[in-house]
């Protein structure tokens, strides 16, 4: 397919996904049966992907999908009746599909309810992000499985189990009461961020499924921010994802080699995304409800200052990581905090900050070893740095990052003795 054709196909697919999610949410909100809603729409979605790229996206994609789903469901209902099968779900679905045709132009947007159902505390944490990608965005299990590095069979099974659980345990399709949001919103935002992180781990963008996943996760973040405009953390998450996404083009050089943040060409950072992220952060800050995502986005904002001033605001970054460390006690935060401390107080202070961590628990964690190696090398402890690089290289999966670490290690030996 030529490039233009590819773009048309991608555009049609995007519209189909948006409409699909809206219809799944609309149908499932009433029956609590996500699988049945998906079944009703599966053929319609496939037909849209086959027809729209050639014939163009219809004016009202939702009505088009709804009409196609209705035909298929009625067919299935008839077939089930002939087979003497009682099919109460199909009957209910046929009824639901019949209702909104009168109000074709306006199907209520229930996707936020679907997001809250997918990230309900009664759903296993590891399946929340995949479940959102499938039900709200219509990704198939195989694409999700490849992004999450799980076999398609295992991913399908987890998704089926989660949908059964929503139906059987009575998980509601409802936006929680305001007083419950502090407890119930974080899992929704975490799952969106997890979907983004899976897509982000393919910076070359060669893996289409992953690149799309990151784009779609940002779209989910936009949806949450739009539907919950008074929730500072929803805005903070979107700002964080936009700041990260803005740097996608700068994370690899022309030959595909990994470029660390400190060496990225800021000219390649996406100004539009960064501007939007900054505006979101300002809006969030005015709400006086600080949280993890706003703080992490503010860290990225302090890096983005490089575009204007040529250097990141390391003092601000240390302060922000201090706050994040108190809030989360996460080793990932501690490692980044140590790197920031090394920028303001020197590598020895950075190494001392790393020592607060339980080294045994992090012995298999690549970022710990690469941060250690980096700080040891800067402090002149070349032998220890070499060993730490060995550990980091052994743990790294991404070949481009591995080559980068190997180059850093080789540079140690090339350096003249201090």
């Amino acid at each position: 397919m030529d490039r233009g054709g590819e773009e048309t196909r991608a555009a049609a697919e995007t519209v189909a996904r948006r409409s699909y999610g809206k219809l799944v949410a609309f149908l499932a909100a009433r029956t609590r049966d996500v699988a049945a809603a998906e079944d009703a729409l599966a053929d319609a979605f496939a037909a849209a992907l086959a027809h729209w790229p050639q014939r163009g996206v219809p004016d009202n994609p939702e009505a088009w999908l709804m009409a196609a789903a209705k035909r298929k469901t009625i067919d299935a209902h008839r077939a089930a009746k002939r087979g003497n099968e009682a099919a109460p779900h199909l009957a209910m679905m046929a009824e639901e599909l019949a209702t909104p045709t009168d109000i074709q132009a306006d199907i209520p947007d229930e996707r936020l309810k679907l997001l809250f159902a997918c990230a309900h505390p009664a759903i296993d944490e590891s399946v929340r992000a995949p479940l959102m990608l499938q039900t709200v965005l219509g990704f198939d299990a195989a694409a999700i499985a490849s992004a999450f590095l799980v076999s398609p069979a295992a991913m399908s099974q987890r998704l089926v189990r989660a949908k059964t659980r929503i139906r059987e345990s009575g998980i509601p399709f409802r936006v929680p009461e305001h007083e419950d949001l502090p407890e119930r919103l974080p899992p929704v935002l975490d799952a969106i961020y997890a979907a983004y992180a899976e897509g982000w781990s393919d910076p070359m963008g060669t893996d289409t499924a992953r690149r799309e996943m990151a784009t779609e996760a940002i779209w989910l973040g936009r949806l949450a921010a739009m539907l919950l405009p008074g929730q500072a953390e929803a805005l903070g998450l979107l700002a964080l994802m936009l700041h990260s996404e803005a740097r996608r083009a700068a994370r690899r050089d022309a030959s595909g080699a990994f470029v660390p943040l400190s060496e990225q060409d800021t000219g390649l950072w996406d100004g539009t995304m960064m501007t939007e992220a900054e505006a979101l952060l300002r809006r969030a800050a005015a709400m006086n409800a600080i949280g993890r995502f706003q703080l992490e986005a503010a860290v990225q904002s302090a890096h983005a200052i490089r575009c204007l001033k040529g250097t990141a605001d390391w003092a601000a970054i240390v302060t922000l990581y201090d706050a994040l460390w108190r809030m989360t006690a996460s080793p990932v935060i501690a490692i980044n905090r140590a790197i920031a401390i090394a920028e303001t107080q020197g590598p020895r202070a950075g190494l001392a900050a790393l020592d607060v961590l339980d080294a045994a628990a992090l012995s298999q964690y690549q970022p710990y070893w690469s941060a250690r190696a980096h700080l040891l090398a800067r402090s002149g402890a070349r032998g220890q740095a070499r060993d730490a690089y060995d550990r980091a290289i052994g743990l790294e999966i991404d070949p481009a990052v591995r080559r980068f670490l190997q180059a850093r290690q080789a540079a140690l030996a090339a350096d003249p003795a201090p």
Binding site: A122, E168, S169, G170, I171
Partner: protein, 117 residues
Amino acid sequence: MEYMLVLFSDPKPLFAMKPEEMEKMAGAYYAFTQALQNEKALVDSRRLKIAAEATTVSLDNGKSKVVNGPYIETKEELAGYYLIDVPDLDAALKWAARCPTAAHGHVEVRPIWPMPG
């Protein structure tokens, strides 16, 4: 939807309780039961005698085998239940959190298998 709040707790501290503590605990359960009744969410509720009083039966080659004690010996044992009728899991979870057992034991929330008709 109907749910059973299955209550698990350790009976040992009960034996050491002073009468006034016992009364306080009974009061907490009474208040919880009243709240369920007021909201028209209560279907049924019972407290069980301690698991040490249980007798367990199974059929072994068609012959009834009777064992002294509960099927499963645990520190926190099945102590009773509340059968409730509420709109969804979130409502059931809220009641479970208000149940006095949640403070000193565990409350398992199980959907009831719907019977046709």
